[in-house]
Each structure stands twice: as structure tokens, then as C-alpha cells.
Symmetry: C2
Subunit: 374 residues, 2 copies
């Protein structure tokens, strides 16, 4: 019912996506990867929408990374294929994985332990299908993955490749360089991108030297892929995700410029409280999330066009704005005024919304409905 | 499809609600209010489900507070009535409010400014219906509301009551004592409950003295209503919400005992990382929310039955556990082990889940589907 509406007419809070900016972000990442000779496997966890996935794959709907089985099913139902569940193998939900593996041309899983490999071996696929497996490497991020220098890493890769070639295939090695999110500025991000690339390529070289073919090598994170280092061209693919929307955090990291951020939360002024020099907004943490609250000087969001205002409180459905200094000019912000918040973390903010209002120059041109759950 | 399943069989992460505990919380609050001669108007924002609302109203489905128009419509569709939109009047969505006012016996709104009253006056209801209005008071919480000592407060209450008696009715005054969340311990909470009650009752007395009848007086917050002060019996109603689930925060505040917390997030161990002494969980901030991260020594959640473990990292779909001291006994937590997290803030955690698995003694007896959006 909101197609054709102006953004300012929408009920608030509302998640607004600038389609032209998102498309430009998608195209630039595609161009960057083409220039490096890399396949782009966009991660869809930021938006979790078919439309965002279509944009990010340049319309092919082939070659994505997902973070949940719910996403995998949703995108499979939406005509996507070559889907990598970029998450430690959910050994308790192997049957769901097997169903996806049987119905898709390529459903890929990743693992980082011999136990997970044994789990796959206990559930061979039918009809000549093989489990397509990526070995997850931890190259300094410190979350999931086996460290490439770990004595068990090469034997595990070998076991995936050779233990049961009729059942399991080693597709490649996969590393998420999420440690780039702790950086400040492009040079520091590029140092991590370079180190991750080197660690991955050294591991692949050692594998080859040991006679184990490892066709693919993938790294990713929006910071590293937004300003890639030339060494990355030796990889086969990258898997960033956030870049399609970008956010305040990415501008602070140096991944993008403010004009590259496609996501806003629209909110209205719903109260004036002169005795405490504050404006009340109809946007709480159910619409914005609390990301950035303790991490960034700007907090969870900036107010577009009003750098003198800052969010000083968020409860379930209310937000409080006050000036960085001086007095609020209440006459400038009458009750009903629509403000646009630039969120700190697009993935976290998008996760709070059942619908995204997608616009071109302020006119709603599409509604995107994300998948939720697990 | 999960009815009859054991909790340990559920796909994780999963939100589990212990129905017996929730029912006991509901009954205790009803009993507490009966003893004080107070009407209980449960706030439904914590669970946002018809089933939770039925439990909290003792099956009457009459007399609730909601925080969004989406909730108001959802509960109206579900057979609820006497619904108070406990939120500053959404002046840009007056038509939606009018529709609810026309279809329900009692749809009530609240406001805290003359502008909002004028807005209501410009949209009179049809068929002899009147706008049922609560004046929102700020008795020290510092969010929405007019302070009872503000020179404009009494004139605004008088205007609601008398300006257009055929169009607008003053139902009462409403104060949310959310400042109890800043307390430590029951005496401090009760000081705020007493002060809020006194401020509200003084205001009502002044109104009566000025010849303005104000039939209702409502205060609320789970901390204040869990250990009410006798003075509250002079009010007409209270409107707590969180108590039906309670949470880690409420146990820290002193509102409840650990055994009163009805909500858990179930998660599985999905990785062992001995070199950094950590377990990986399939629960990130999409399943838990980040509430409590910077507020509580226990962080976003405690691990039930394992006080020696603490959450040290949460990303979108991953959580990291490590011991408070010493080494993880990895043999005790094999991959696949189901753990139950007691979340810091039930409202925030519930908001992340499209379905709640409701159980009796570990067997799923119902699925509750909350309303989302605005």
C-alpha cells in the first residue's frame, strides 16, 4: 500500500533504503572484483532479502553466502543457487543441510573440526551428490575456524579432500577477516587484508605441495573488500556483505563515504521537553538496535543534516535527542518533523525491521521483506 | 511441527518460555493487585502475543497497555478490548487511532501537550464516541510526560476534561516510573514507587480541588509493582509488563528471584577453541540482543547452571563463552551440548524472535507468534 508514497508520508519508525545508492554499492563491488579477477560471493546476512541478493549478484542469483539455514531455504525458494552456509556446520541440523544439498546444484557447507567431517560422513548424500565443503580458517579474527598454523589444519584439509572422495569434496578454504572492524583507517584495514590473504595463500600452497588440491580461496569483510590490496587477486573469491547498505560504522572505519550509506531509519519528533533541552523521537531500540551505543562517539546513529543533535537515550520505542551544546531550537523541529537516522550498524538495524521501504529519490518503489529466524 | 518436542530437540537458537513460571508470575501480580484493590492493566510490549495477553489478563482479554499501533490492531483483532496506547499520541497516524476508537469499546490514548489535544479535536469521532484520553505525567523518569509541577499541567488536564466534553474525555493520569530501573535493591525501588504515587495523587487532588474530575490514576514498572508500597492502593490501576517473563536484570534489581524468570535462549555449543580457552555458541545478538552488554557484570546473559562460564563475545550469529577463571573442561561441553541463557532484558530478547517455544517441564506445549513492526 505504500508504493508510490513519499518517504515523509510513511508511518514511523521505518527503515528506508536508497535503491540507487545500494545499486551503486553493488556495482562498485562487482567492478572492483572484476578488476582483480575475483569472483564476488555476496553475503546476504545484512539485508536477508531476495531483492538485495539479486542486486548484489548482478541479477544472476548465483553465488551467495548465508549465515543461517532459514536464509539458505529462503534464498533457495527464491531461485538462488550456489549457496554457501558460511557458518560452522550445524551438526544437529544435518538433515536440513542434506535436503538443501539434494535440491540445489551447489549447497556448500564449512567446518573447522574433524568431528564435523565425521558427522557429514555419517550422512552421505544420494544420487551421486557429494558434500561440498570449505575448510574454515581463522587467520586472526578469533571466532570460528582452525588456525592455518595449527598442526591439525593440514591433516583436516587432507581428510576433507581425500578421506571419502565419493562422499565429500574439498571446495576451498574460507576466512572471515572480521578483525578489520577493530581498525581505524584504510591502511590498518589493508594490513589485515594483506595478512589474511597471505595466511590463506600460504596454506593453499602448503596443501598443494602436499598433493592436496584446494580449488578455491575466499576471504571477506566489507572493510577489506572496499579497499582491496593487489595481493587479493591471487584468491579466487571474496564474500563481503554489509557494503550493499554500508553504515555509520563503515564511514568511521574508512570503508565508504557518507554518501555511500543507503540505509536510514525514519523517525518523527513526538515531543518537546524544553526543561531538559530534549526532543522525543518515535524510534527506540526496536527500530535502531543498540549497536554502537558504547562503541562510537556518535552512538547508535547520527541525525542526517543535523550534526548538532545527538541521541542520548533509547528505550523500547522512544529516543531522546539533545544538542551537543547550546539550546534546541524547538521552532525548527515541530512535533511531526521527520528525521533520518544513519545507523551505526546496518546488519543490526535491518534485523529489527519486518519490511524495508525502498525508494528512489524519496519515492517508495518497492517493499522488501527479509527472512527472519534460524 | 514442534508441539510435543523436548526443548533439547529444538533447532537453536530458540526462545523458550516456561509456561508454569509465566502463569505463576501472572497470578502473583493479579493477587498483589487484588490485595491492594488495584486494577491490573498489563503492558503487553514484552511478549506482544495474544497468549501472553490472555495469561496476564487472567483470560478476560480486557484492560491492557500497548506501545505501538501494530500491537493495538493485533490485540484488537485477537478479541482484546479496553486497550490503552501508552505512548505519546501519534499525531501523524490519527486516522489509525480513530479506526481503533470506533471499533473498540474502549481504545484509549495518552498525550502530554496542548498540541496533541488540538490534534484530537480536529478529528472528532462519529456515533457518539469520545476520545478517551489519559494525561501523561513525568514524575521523575525523564522521558515523555508533563511534570505535575509544570504550570501547564493542570490547565492541560482541565482542557482535556472540559474543553470539548462531547468529543474528548479525561480518563485519568498515567505515569511510568521507569527510573526504578536505575535502582539497586527493593528499598530504593520502593522510594521511587512512593514518590511517583505521591506525585500522581497530589496532582489528582489538586485537579479535584479545581473542580476537574480525574477518575483514574495509573503508575507502572515491573520493579515497583513487584514489591508495591501500601500507598499505591490509593491509585486505581498499575501497568507493569516485564514481570510475566522477568529476566536477569529484574533479578539484579531485586524484582524477582532467579526461579521466577520464565525466559531462556537455548543455544548449542558449535566449536571448541582450546588455544584461546573458548567455546563457540550458535547464539549471537540476533537471538539475544545486546542489552546488558555494558550495563551488567554478567553481560547480556548468564548460562544457566554454569556460573563459571561467561559470554565474552557476541556477533550476528555467534557467541563466545569462556570461564571466569581457569580452563574450560571441554569434555563436559561436547559440540552439540544445549545450554540455556538467561537474558538480561526479556523485552529486548523476545523482540528478536519470530516464534516463542512455550513449554511445560521441557516439553513444547505451544508456539506463540508475536506481532512486530509499528
Amino acid at each position: 500500500m505504500w508504493l508510490g508514497a513519499r518517504l515523509a508520508a510513511l508511518p514511523t519508525p521505518a527503515l528506508a533504503i536508497d535503491r540507487a545508492v545500494a545499486r551503486r554499492n553493488a556495482e562498485r563491488m562487482q567492478e572492483r572484483c572484476r578488476a582483480l579477477g575475483l569472483r564476488l560471493r555476496p553475503h546476504v546476512k545484512t539485508h536477508k532479502t531476495l531483492e538485495g541478493g539479486a542486486l548484489a549478484t548482478g541479477g544472476t542469483r548465483r553465488g551467495i553466502a548465508v549465515s543461517t539455514l532459514a536464509e539458505a531455504r529462503f534464498f533457495a525458494d527464491g531461485g538462488f543457487d550456489d549457496i554457501l552456509l558460511a557458518y560452522p556446520l550445524p551438526t544437529g541440523r544435518l538433515e536440513e543441510c542434506a535436503q538443501l544439498a539434494q535440491r540445489l546444484e551447489a549447497f556448500q557447507v564449512l567446518l573447522d573440526s574433524p568431528g564435523a567431517l565425521q558427522c557429514l560422513r555419517q550422512r552421505p548424500l544420494a544420487g551421486g551428490k557429494r558434500w561440498l565443503v570449505w575448510l574454515k580458517l581463522d587467520c586472526g579474527n578469533g571466532r570460528a575456524g582452525v588456525r592455518p598454523t595449527d598442526p591439525g589444519a593440514l591433516p583436516l584439509a587432507r581428510a576433507i579432500a581425500e578421506e571419502a572422495p565419493e562422499e565429500v569434496t574439498l571446495v576451498g578454504v574460507y576466512a572471515h577477516c572480521g578483525n578489520t572492524y577493530g581498525c581505524s583507517g584504510v591502511p590498518a584495514i589493508q594490513d589485515i587484508a594483506r595478512a589474511t590473504t597471505a595466511a590463506v595463500l600460504d596454506f593453499v600452497a602448503a596443501l598443494r605441495q602436499a598433493g592436496v588440491p584446494c580449488p578455491q580461496a575466499s576471504i571477506g569483510s566489507t572493510p577489506s573488500c572496499s579497499h582491496p590490496v593487489p595481493e587479493m587477486s591471487e584468491l579466487t573469491e571474496v564474500h563481503p556483505g554489509n557494503y550493499i547498505f554500508y553504515d555509520l560504522q563503515q564511514t568511521l572505519l574508512g570503508s565508504c563515504q557518507p554518501q555511500d550509506v543507503a540505509i536510514r531509519v525514519l523517525t518523527r519528533v513526538i515531543g518537546h521537553y524544553p526543561h531538559r533541552n530534549q526532543l522525543l523521537l518515535d524510534c527506540g531500540w526496536t527500530a535502531l538496535s543498540l549497536h554502537g551505543w558504547a562503541q562510537s562517539p556518535a552512538g547508535c546513529a547520527t541525525v542526517e543534516g543535523h550534526p548538532q543533535l545527538r541521541l542520548v537515550g533509547l528505550t523500547q520505542e522512544h529516543g531522546l535527542l539533545e544538542p551537543v551544546g547550546g539550546q534546541v531550537d524547538f521552532g525548527r523541529f515541530p512535533v511531526g518533523t521527520v528525521l533520518a537516522l544513519v545507523p551505526f550498524h546496518a546488519c543490526a538495524t535491518a534485523a529489527m525491521h519486518p519490511v524495508y521501504y525502498v525508494h528512489e529519490e524519496g519515492e517508495v518503489v518497492a517493499l522488501w521483506h527479509p527472512v527472519r529466524g534460524w
